[in-house]
């Protein structure tokens, strides 16, 4: 479904050029849920944005459903295949657009018809219901906003969903609801996920395989069983797992 080979992403121009991602390669088969973990600044979100076409300064290969993508322009078919859910539900919804406006614009852009019926179905799908249709973002809680953002991503009926820390801005009880929703949607629509998170427990819960990143490089790609058992190959991964198990008094 997704192939990333020798991906380099940089920002700025020499001498101030920052290499955010260096030589990253991984593949995600259809239907899999793949995690990208690492500390802040490790380049995990940058990879996701490069895949989505939101960053154009990259080299290497990004192929979606077998089709290589260019850095500059993405076509209509790409937007119908790949969609993204952002980290901060407070920043990813336009403050002056109601839920109805967000979803109907999205559906129109994706060339859908029968807009009102589709909106109702999308809202049902993400567990919000029609009563939320005419609310503005400031009338929604964080979890409800993230559900709207997920509905927006699903409007195009994509096959690959990029999830950028979808629950890190939410309370744990709401996180559980959103993670359950994402799991249900994947099962129902046969979606492929690429999920970025700094929380190993969340990735362990959601993903089948994961890549561990450090300072712009992928240090290790491992299965989720290895993560749970703590049998990582690399020292850095073992440290990360140990640190995520909690605080041990020095």
């Amino acid at each position: 479904m997704l192939t990333v080979e020798n991906l380099n992403v940089w920002f700025g121009h020499p001498p101030d050029r920052v290499d955010a991602v260096q030589d990253a390669s991984f593949t995600v088969p259809q239907g899999e849920s793949f995690g990208l973990v690492g500390e802040s600044g490790s380049g995990k979100s940058t990879i996701l944005r490069a895949i989505a076409g939101l960053i154009d300064t990259w080299s290497g290969t990004i192929a979606v459903a077998g089709k290589p993508q260019s850095a500059r322009k993405r076509d209509r078919a790409f937007f119908k295949t790949v969609q993204m859910v952002f980290q901060d539900p407070y920043a990813s919804l336009h403050p002056r657009h109601s839920v109805d406006a967000v979803l109907s614009e999205t559906l129109r852009l994706q060339g859908m018809d029968d807009i009102d019926r589709r909106i109702a179905r999308l809202l049902d799908d993400v567990g919000l219901g029609r009563g939320f249709c005419f609310r503005y973002p400031h009338q929604l809680s964080g979890g409800q906003r993230q559900r709207v953002a997920i509905a927006r991503a699903l409007a195009a009926e994509p096959r690959l969903l990029l999830l950028d820390e979808p629950t890190s801005a939410l309370d744990v009880s709401v996180q559980a609801e959103i993670l359950n929703l994402l799991a249900d949607l994947r099962a129902e629509h046969g979606l492929t996920y690429v999920m970025v998170s700094h929380d190993l427990a969340v990735v362990g819960h959601m993903c089948d395989r994961l890549a561990v990143m450090q300072a712009g490089r992928i240090v290790e790609v491992m299965g989720v069983t290895a993560l749970r058992q703590g049998t990582a190959q690399q020292e850095y991964t073992r440290q990360l797992i140990a640190a995520s198990r909690g605080y041990a008094r020095a």
Binding site: Q175, A176, A201, H205, R228, L240, S244, Y247, R249
Partner: protein, 292 residues
């Protein structure tokens, strides 16, 4: 010995739909211990911290039957007298150091200013104190950091600087509001170690406000669990996983765990009864399980 004693603390805000009670009758005592305050956003945990420091802005109103620091009331003191307590006797560390440090002053100047504001004294004494504080928070090269501007230091470093700044006047109580949420796990451990040592070595009282149950269970001595502006349960941190209140249990269950994979996470079913009802208080062997 009780450092801080709070009884029936209430914080209310007038809104168009009537009064909103952010904190509804919170009571607790703080000794020389690490007291965790846990709850979800909107539970009133941060507002409790702000109310103690007199940082609730009008039109918000703070009332309490009692709010005493060492037996002396600090409830709704005039701003001038509160300023003398804030910083010198009670300090606060916020979530994001980026917004708490002045971007156009060097780190050293800020720590020195914070110290001299409360302790007075000569400039070189303040400088020595600042260096000592930076060393106390495990900054290896304090001279260099003193001369740096806030944007030149990393997040973890910034948070340590904040702690150094807050500790310079030797406060009796430190209120830390999500001090590690913006930090990576590896840095988090260091910052927590520093605070831990300060509580032990200086006999400070720490109020640790956090949404992270596991962290609080491991770091604190005692935990208050807040829901909708009230404390629903208090218990020793080590017993958090044997919590009896359904809300606490629900929060703990909704966390994904690496060691116990499950297909679906249990979802918290909120009940209106939790908004009222009594606080479940664990009968502790000692009043302050962390020791005094």
């Amino acid at each position: 010995m009780t450092l801080l004693s709070v009884r029936n603390l209430r914080v209310t805000f007038p809104t168009r739909q009537g009064t909103f009670e952010a904190v509804r009758g919170v009571s607790f005592d703080l000794g020389r211990e690490r007291l965790g305050v846990v709850g979800e956003s909107g539970s009133g945990k941060s507002m409790t911290g702000r109310a103690i420091l007199g940082l609730v802005r009008p039109p918000g109103r703070v009332t309490a039957d009692r709010m005493e620091l060492d037996g002396q009331s600090i409830l709704n003191l005039p701003e001038r007298r509160m300023r003398r307590i804030r910083g010198r006797r009670i300090s606060m560390v916020m979530q994001d150091p980026k917004f708490s440090l002045n971007p156009v002053m060097t780190v050293g100047d800020q720590i020195m200013e914070a110290y001299r504001l409360h302790a007075g004294g000569a400039k070189h004494a303040a400088r020595d104190k600042a260096l000592e504080m930076l060393r106390a928070v495990q900054i290896r090269d304090p001279e260099r950091v003193m001369a740096a501007y806030p944007h030149e230091v990393s997040g973890g470093m910034g948070q340590r600087i904040m702690i150094a700044m807050m500790l310079a006047p030797d406060p009796e109580i430190l209120i830390a509001d999500e001090p590690t949420s913006a930090l990576d796990v590896s840095v988090r451990t260091e910052v927590l170690n520093i605070m831990d040592r300060l509580v032990r070595d200086r006999g400070m009282g720490l109020i640790f406000i956090s949404h992270d149950l596991n962290l609080v269970a491991q770091f604190c001595d005692r935990v208050l669990i807040m829901y909708a502006g009230r404390i629903v349960e208090t218990l020793a941190a080590k017993d958090l996983h044997q919590a009896r209140h359904p809300y606490t249990q629900g929060l703990l269950n909704s966390l994904p765990r690496l060691d116990a994979p499950q297909d679906r996470l249990p979802v918290l079913q909120r009940q209106d009864a939790w908004r009222e009802g009594d606080t479940i208080t664990q009968s502790l062997d000692t009043e302050f399980p962390g020791g005094l």
